[in-house]
């Protein structure tokens, strides 16, 4: 029985007063892997931001992991974000603490108490993205790709129902991209839903899946021609 984890109808996405996307009607079912593509500046990040409550949904109806977006209260936002795993396009790591403390912060902020369980979880997610040996480094001591991998690890901490990844392979070499992609595929195979914005068409070809496209203030599903 498919369960709708993300649903927008007649929604418009704004950056302040500027209309970015209009008349958005999409649905994502639990367990899907969905790409979000589109030229630079067409509104992929704005769309993602609306989904995690950084931009208000000013018109239309929206529902994500059971929370309504059109009248989202400020108080609800932290709890919405805990149900999501977000990989930000600009990473958003805490620069005043090292990798491990970055992850500890998220765990503590979301209610974890047991120190040994936290350590175990952190090892687990860092291992998944191949960053286990660099947990003592500060974000500014890491390369862009390494920071990106930490950001992915952070998004996995709370086994989120839905992962919103904004160009998670944008700073990675092709081989590492594929490795990260395999991690995401694995998580997807475990039942987590993933929405991933990307410019990396090689990945799309290698791992074909449902694809949404931003173009001309519209967001629509791409009909895949070469699917067999």
């Amino acid at each position: 029985m498919p369960e709708t984890i993300l649903e927008l109808s007649d929604a418009s996405i704004f950056q302040r007063e500027t209309l970015i996307l209009s008349n958005v009607n999409i649905e994502i079912q639990k367990g899907e892997f969905v790409y979000l593509i589109g030229k630079t500046g067409t509104g992929k990040s704005s769309f993602m931001k609306t989904l995690y409550g950084d931009l208000p949904l000013q018109s239309g109806y929206g529902q994500i992991v059971g929370i309504e977006l059109q009248n989202l209260k400020e108080k609800q936002i932290p709890f919405l974000r805990r149900k999501l795993g977000v990989v930000f396009q600009d990473f958003k790591l805490l620069n005043d603490r090292n990798v491990k403390e970055n992850l500890i912060f998220v765990l503590k902020a979301t209610g974890w108490k047991d120190k040994s369980r936290m350590d175990k979880k952190i090892d687990e997610v860092l291992d998944k993205v191949g960053m286990k040996t660099k947990s003592f480094k500060f974000p500014y001591q890491l390369s862009g790709g390494e920071q990106q991998r930490v950001a992915i690890a952070r998004a996995l901490l709370n086994d989120p129902e839905l992962i919103l990844a904004d160009e998670p392979t944008g700073n990675l070499d092709p081989q590492t991209s594929v490795e990260v992609m395999q991690v995401l595929q694995e998580i997807n195979a475990n039942g987590n839903t993933i929405l991933m914005a990307t410019h990396d068409y090689a990945l799309l070809l290698k791992y074909p899946s449902k694809t949404l496209k931003c173009d001309g203030q519209r967001l629509f599903e791409v009909v895949q021609k070469q699917q067999h």
Partner: protein, 292 residues
């Protein structure tokens, strides 16, 4: 290379904490000294007020029991600081000494009356209260006359009022500046972390969770700062007391303890509230508003 950068970062952080601590310490030091001044003006003023006497002249017909009774009830009433019974003989002796000749000798009798001098507690030295007291006392049959220096009381109270008003106004202003100063240095140290605050919100931390470490840190700095100011005040008090022992600055331990505790609490409270509002400000901003 990296470690020197880390050291540089740490040093920057420490400098910003340092400036918070110093501004708290300096400002509270001033406020504490002012508080000492304010409370000691009251002490000095009270000292003068308690010099004011009201004299009850008793009729010669007054019975000893009645006089005793009156003395007792005066001694018991809460407005009395002290009373002194002056018999007509004592009064005559004192008066003779004052004018340098024995006036009874050429008068042949003692024209003076028995009297009671009443000294008041400072809080009751006001025109209306003393008028009321003297009216009550005057109703007694054996009391002949009641005399006190009305204009002096008015003058004294006027001057004390004016003086305390100015001292209070200046301290109020200084306290206000103090709060602003501490507030702005705390604001600055929170401002330095505004992107961290925003990022914390992005990963699902509640406002309260984000605020807590900031407030803990500031309260810690507030305690350090006010402790420094307390040490400063203690040193100043010590030397003032050494130079002016007659002011009895250290005699009232309870008052001193209250001032010291007050300064400490003020330090904690100001840093707490400033941090609360400073973090709240950035927590309520939208992400892109941070850049404006």
């Amino acid at each position: 290379m990296a470690s020197s950068f880390e050291k540089y970062q740490k040093r920057r952080l420490i400098t910003s904490y340092f400036s918070v601590v110093i501004s708290i310490a300096l400002v509270l030091f001033l406020v504490g000294l002012l508080a000492l001044l304010v409370l000691n003006t009251k002490k000095v003023a009270d000292h003068f007020k308690e010099q004011i006497a009201l004299t009850i002249y008793l009729k010669d017909t007054a019975k000893e029991v009645e006089i005793d009774q009156l003395q007792k009830s005066l001694a018991l009433s809460e407005y009395t600081k002290s009373i002194e019974f002056v018999s007509k003989e004592q009064a005559a002796k004192a008066y003779s000494q004052e004018i340098g000749e024995d006036f009874m000798e050429f008068l042949g009798y003692n024209p003076l009356q028995n009297s009671i001098d009443v000294y008041f507690n400072a809080d009751y030295v006001s025109e209306t209260k003393i008028a009321e007291i003297s009216r009550d006392l005057g109703e007694k049959e054996f009391v002949d006359e009641i005399i006190y220096d009305k204009p002096l009381i008015a003058l004294l109270n006027d001057n004390i009022k004016r003086l305390s008003f100015w001292i209070l106004a200046v301290s109020g202003l200084l306290t206000f500046i103090a709060v602003l100063l501490i507030n702005s240095s705390i604001r600055l140290s929170v401002y330095a972390k505004r992107f961290t605050i925003k990022t914390m919100q992005m990963v699902g931390a509640t406002k309260r969770f984000i605020r807590r470490p900031f407030i803990l840190k500031s309260v810690k700095l507030g305690i350090i700062g006010s402790s420094i100011s307390l040490v400063g005040m203690a040193v100043v008090l010590y030397y003032l007391d050494k130079s002016f022992p007659e002011l009895k600055l250290i005699s009232d331990e309870v008052l001193l303890a209250a001032i010291f505790a007050g300064v400490l609490i003020l330090g904690i409270l100001i840093s707490w509230l400033s941090t609360f509002f400073a973090t709240q400000r950035f927590l309520n901003l939208k992400t892109d508003e941070l850049y404006y």
